[in-house]
Each structure stands twice: as C-alpha cells, then as structure tokens.
C-alpha cells in the first residue's frame, strides 16, 4: 500500500465503505431475520459513520473539546433516541 493510501483520510474512507457494505448486507436479507434487530444495527452503524466523519474528516478530534463534545453528544443522543423510538413504538 503506497503512502497516499495510508493517509488518515484514505483509511477513514475504507472503514466507511466497509461499514456501508455491512449495512447493505443487513438491508438485503442476508443478515439478521429480526426486522427491529436489523434496523437497530443499521442505525448504530450509521451513527458510527457520522462520528467517524466528524472526528476524522471534519477534524474534530483536533478541535476545541466543547465542539467535539457537542458533536459526540449529538451522535449518541440522536442514535439512542431513534433506537428508543424504534423499539418502543
């Protein structure tokens, strides 16, 4: 693997594409048979990707801690909120 492929941006991209492939697999009947279980995993994977995009691409891991914490809080709260809705409604 050459130098360009080892950059944080390229590695982040690889992880994001792998996560997308996982979601695809889950969403196309190859994964969990329980619909709510699959939906929960899809939501978790989506917000892990959101977190990665924020920390790596947006460079929030280097940023002011208040900004980073606000972003992290959003990720956790919205992910948790959607799952709570999914499982309780």
């Amino acid at each position: 693997m050459n130098a360009a492929a080892r950059t944080p941006a390229a590695l982040t991209w690889l992880v994001l594409v792998a996560a997308t492939s996982l979601s695809w697999w889950l969403g196309t009947d190859h994964g969990i048979t329980n619909a709510r279980g699959a939906a929960t995993v899809l939501i978790v994977v989506a917000f892990v990707k959101v977190f990665l995009i924020g920390m790596q691409f947006m460079e929030l891991r280097h940023a002011d801690h208040r900004l980073r914490n606000a972003f992290a809080a959003y990720t956790v709260l919205v992910c948790g909120g959607l799952i709570a809705m999914l499982l309780s409604l």
Partner: protein, 191 residues
C-alpha cells in the same frame, strides 16, 4: 502564492472555519434529527406501507450515492490537508470532489425521474412524501455544497490562501455527506 502567519498554520484549527458555521451545522443536524425521527415513527405506525413503498426504491442507486459522497469527502479532506501544508494538487482533489457531487445530482435526477415515470410522486403516500421531502432538502444542501467547493477551488488557485474558508467549507461538505449516511439506511435499507 503569499501566505500570512495564519495561513502558515499547518495544524488543524481549534474551530474549523468559525463558530458561526458550527452553530449552523449543529442546528442543521438537529433539524435532520427531527426528520429522521419522522421516518422511524412512520415505520412504526405504517409498517406495511413503509416496507411496500420502500420496495420501489432503487437501493443500488442509493448505495452508489453513498459511495459518491464518501469519496467526495475523502477528496475534500485530502485537499484541505494538502493546501494547509502548501502542497500541490489541492485544486485537482477539489475538482474530483465536485465531480462526485455532480454525479450525485445526476443519480438523483435519474432516480426521481424513474419514480415519476412510474407515477410515484410526493402525493402518492406518506412514505413517498417523506422520501421526496428528505431527499429534496438534502439535494438542496448538495447544490449549495457544490458552490462552496467552487469557492474553495478559487481560493486554492488564488493568491491568498484562506485556511478558515477551506476548513469551514470542507466541514460543510462533510455535513452533506454525514446527513446522507443516515438518510440512506433509514429510507432504503431499514425494514
């Protein structure tokens, strides 16, 4: 290209862009969070309708759009990093990112076009109202994002590098990416 002391900064900023941008970014993310909630609620209360309507969506095109935005974001992140370090080819990376954005637009037009040709419009049912509304609002963000990338391209090719513009503009593009990253599974994959 002349650079001021601020422009010579090689480390990422404490606040990429400026605080006002982040107020907007977090507010926009919050608005979309409400829309995501609408989708989950729709799935809960009209599950049959949700699953049957979703079957009409083209998952492959949705996934392609996800890959286009993820790749565009990678190009933007690389471009900003290179510009910050005074390296060449930041402009080519930004052009590549714009290419991804334009391709996204094209795929959306094809998708919507095929839906409309099949007689599926925002008035068809609640799922498709939500589908057109969410993808439409997102598409508007993509169009603005293309303008932002153009402004970044002009700066990178210009005389005075503005790192704040590049970092902030880059963050706007990543926002467009991360919103789709949630929309795609909720609309196309979640059953």
């Amino acid at each position: 290209m002349s650079r001021t002391a601020e422009e010579l900064r090689v480390a990422p900023a404490a606040v990429p862009g400026e605080p006002g941008l982040w107020l907007f970014v977090l507010a926009d993310m919050t608005m979309f969070a409400v829309l995501f909630g609408v989708l989950v609620e729709l799935r809960a209360h009209q599950h049959e309708l949700f699953v049957q309507s979703q079957a009409h969506l083209n998952r492959g095109l949705g996934a392609l759009n996800t890959l286009l935005l993820l790749t565009g974001s990678m190009f933007v992140a690389l471009a900003v990093g290179r510009a910050r370090r005074g390296l060449a080819h930041a402009d080519r990376l930004l052009i590549a990112a714009m290419g991804c954005g334009i391709a996204f637009l094209g795929v959306k037009v094809i998708e919507w076009g095929s839906k409309i040709a099949d007689g599926i419009t925002p008035q068809t049912n609640d799922f498709f109202s939500a589908y057109y509304m969410l993808t439409g609002i997102h598409l508007a963000h993509v169009c603005i994002g293309l303008g932002v990338l153009l402004a970044m391209l002009r700066n990178v090719r210009g005389a005075a590098l503005k790192l704040g513009l590049l970092e902030g503009g880059g963050c706007y593009w990543h926002l467009v990416d991360l919103l789709w990253v949630v929309l795609f599974p909720l609309l196309y994959l979640m059953r």
